[in-house]
């Protein structure tokens, strides 16, 4: 016990025995997260994949402090998570930029809240906007930007806070394939440059494999950790396609059982999900059920 406590201190994000239930319309208690234990090292890139409804976004909201767990505790950089705060910013699926503020004002929103002097906040914001290649759009309003640009602003707005951890909730799933590829590359560059810890929720297996070092596969109903997969390191160069493909296959095979469970629940027991013959598009995205 002593040892595990000590070990926990080295860990940057510790999720310890988290449980969470919601009540549905019939007032039944539905358990969405059951006994979740995760430890994440400082500066790492962790992805959570799982079928829809497995509670992966709920877990992210708990880390953000936007929701409260029924049991267990979450610590980030040694501090217990009690409420939302700028040290744990979230990049949501939709950028969520404030339409009444310019790009620059959106990015400095959090800094001004921290009472940083305007000049300092703006020069910081401009640096970050340069990093996401949006220097030309500082004075634009969000509606003038494309979806990819909006998401870049959202990432800049989060990074400028120099957070302990960057929480990303399916940030690229609303974008088209090309934009997503570009943003993957940029996110990896940013991650290497800033060494920020990233906790990434997605239903896109390929995305998880390409971006993260560690993939946590979730089982559903209730949400539980099914397996943790370490992606072969690629920090020193481009990973061969065969390795990527192999890892993808592994994640997929772990997920298949869960997919079948979900489909059976939704379509009835006669539904059988044949392994290895599933439709998948080039993005590795198996549709919204994953």
């Amino acid at each position: 016990m002593m040892f595990s406590k000590k070990w926990g201190d080295f860990m940057y994000l510790t999720i310890d025995g988290i449980e969470k239930s919601f009540s549905n319309e019939k007032k039944e208690n539905i358990k969405v997260l059951d006994e979740i234990n995760i430890e994440v090292e400082k500066g790492s890139f962790v992805s959570i994949v799982g079928p829809s409804g497995c509670g992966k976004s709920t877990l992210l909201y708990l880390i953000a402090g936007l929701d409260k767990a029924d049991k267990g505790e979450i610590r980030v950089a040694g501090k217990k998570v009690m409420k939302p705060g700028p040290e744990r910013v979230v990049v949501f699926q939709e950028a969520g930029l404030f339409p009444w503020l310019t790009v620059l004002e959106n990015v400095t929103y959090g800094l001004k809240l921290k009472k940083m002097p305007k000049k300092e906040a703006e020069s910081k914001a401009l640096d970050i906007l340069k990093m996401v290649h949006l220097s030309r759009y500082v004075d634009s309003y969000p509606h003038q930007l494309s979806g990819g640009m909006k998401q870049r602003v959202a990432i800049a707005r989060a990074l400028v806070m120099e957070p302990d951890i960057l929480l990303m909730d399916e940030p690229f799933s609303a974008l088209d394939e090309q934009t997503r590829m570009v943003l993957h590359k940029e996110l990896l560059e940013i991650w290497r440059k800033t060494k920020v810890t990233i906790f990434f929720v997605t239903h896109n297996i390929r995305e998880a494999v390409q971006l993260s070092e560690k993939i946590i596969v979730f089982a559903t109903r209730p949400g539980k950790i099914k397996e943790t997969i370490y992606v072969p390191s690629m920090k020193d160069g481009v990973m061969p396609d065969s390795v990527t493909l192999h890892t993808e296959q592994r994640v997929l095979s772990i997920l298949q059982e869960e997919i079948e469970k979900v489909l059976k629940e939704e379509m009835g027991n006669d539904y059988s999900f044949k392994t290895n013959h599933i439709h998948r598009d080039d993005s590795g995205d198996m549709g919204s059920h994953i």
Partner: protein, 240 residues
């Protein structure tokens, strides 16, 4: 076209001039009224009143809207009452106002304010309620709470709905003002109407009507339309 018909029918009709004045006569009176300051003074007085009443209504409406949005108990009690009150034409309050405050400026101000307050409250409430969850979550993760949260997220996010509330509230209070002045006196365009009637000067009455229409249109088309357009431009029309 209308002007021509008016001019001709007026000249040839058997009604005496004071009942159905010709267009030229109306313009004459309008011009004289503006020059002598009789009409301009009335405009000033009316606008002053509506400005005060309208401002109070906006502030009270926003505050009430906030409480209805924020607290379930207030919503269940006051929220319901406000909806009921909103359906009462504000001039109906006038007898009460006269008894409470006397037949004076204050009574007129009271019905002007009350005419706009409930509409403002209802619109502010639904504006606050429709602020997307996403904006609220974003603001909270950046550490925004309390008054800062209200000022930087809830208020600006509900601006489109608040503007349409202002527009309706303005229309209500403008009507209430005219009715109040007509009955209550104490100067203003409404009283000028009443004066025109008692003096049998329909040219004056019509002049004042024209002024009322012009002011109403200007405020609606210039002030509120411009506000709305600015917001739409800034936000992008499809953005919500």
């Amino acid at each position: 076209m209308i002007a021509a018909i008016w001019e001709v029918t007026s000249r040839f009709s058997s009604l005496p001039d004071f009942m159905f004045p010709s267009l030229t006569q109306v313009f004459q009176t309008l011009f004289n009224g503006l020059m002598s300051g009789q009409i301009t003074e009335a405009i000033g007085k009316s606008l002053g009143r509506i400005l005060i009443g309208f401002t109070i209504a906006i502030i009270v409406g926003l505050i009430l809207g906030y409480f209805i949005w924020r607290f379930k108990l207030v919503e269940d009690t006051l929220g319901f009452v406000v909806t009921a009150l909103q359906s009462i034409p504000s001039i109906v309050w006038f007898p009460l106002a006269i008894i409470w405050f006397g037949l004076n400026d204050f009574s007129i101000l009271f019905i002007v304010t009350i005419g706009a307050t409930w509409t403002m409250t209802v619109n502010a409430t639904s504006g606050f309620r429709n602020v997307p969850q996403l904006y609220q979550r974003v603001a909270k993760t950046y550490g925004s709470t309390g008054f800062h949260f209200l000022r930087t997220v809830i208020l600006p996010a509900s601006v489109p709905q608040i503007i349409s509330g202002l527009r309706i509230a303005w229309a209500f209070s403008w009507r209430a003002l005219m009715a109040g002045e007509l009955l209550g006196g104490g100067g203003g365009l409404g009283q000028l109407l009443e004066m025109g009637r008692s003096l049998g000067q329909m040219d004056l009455v019509i002049s004042v009507m024209i002024i009322i229409a012009i002011i109403g249109t200007i405020v609606d088309n210039v002030v509120f339309s411009r506000l709305e357009r600015n917001v739409q431009l800034k936000w992008g029309v499809n953005q919500r």
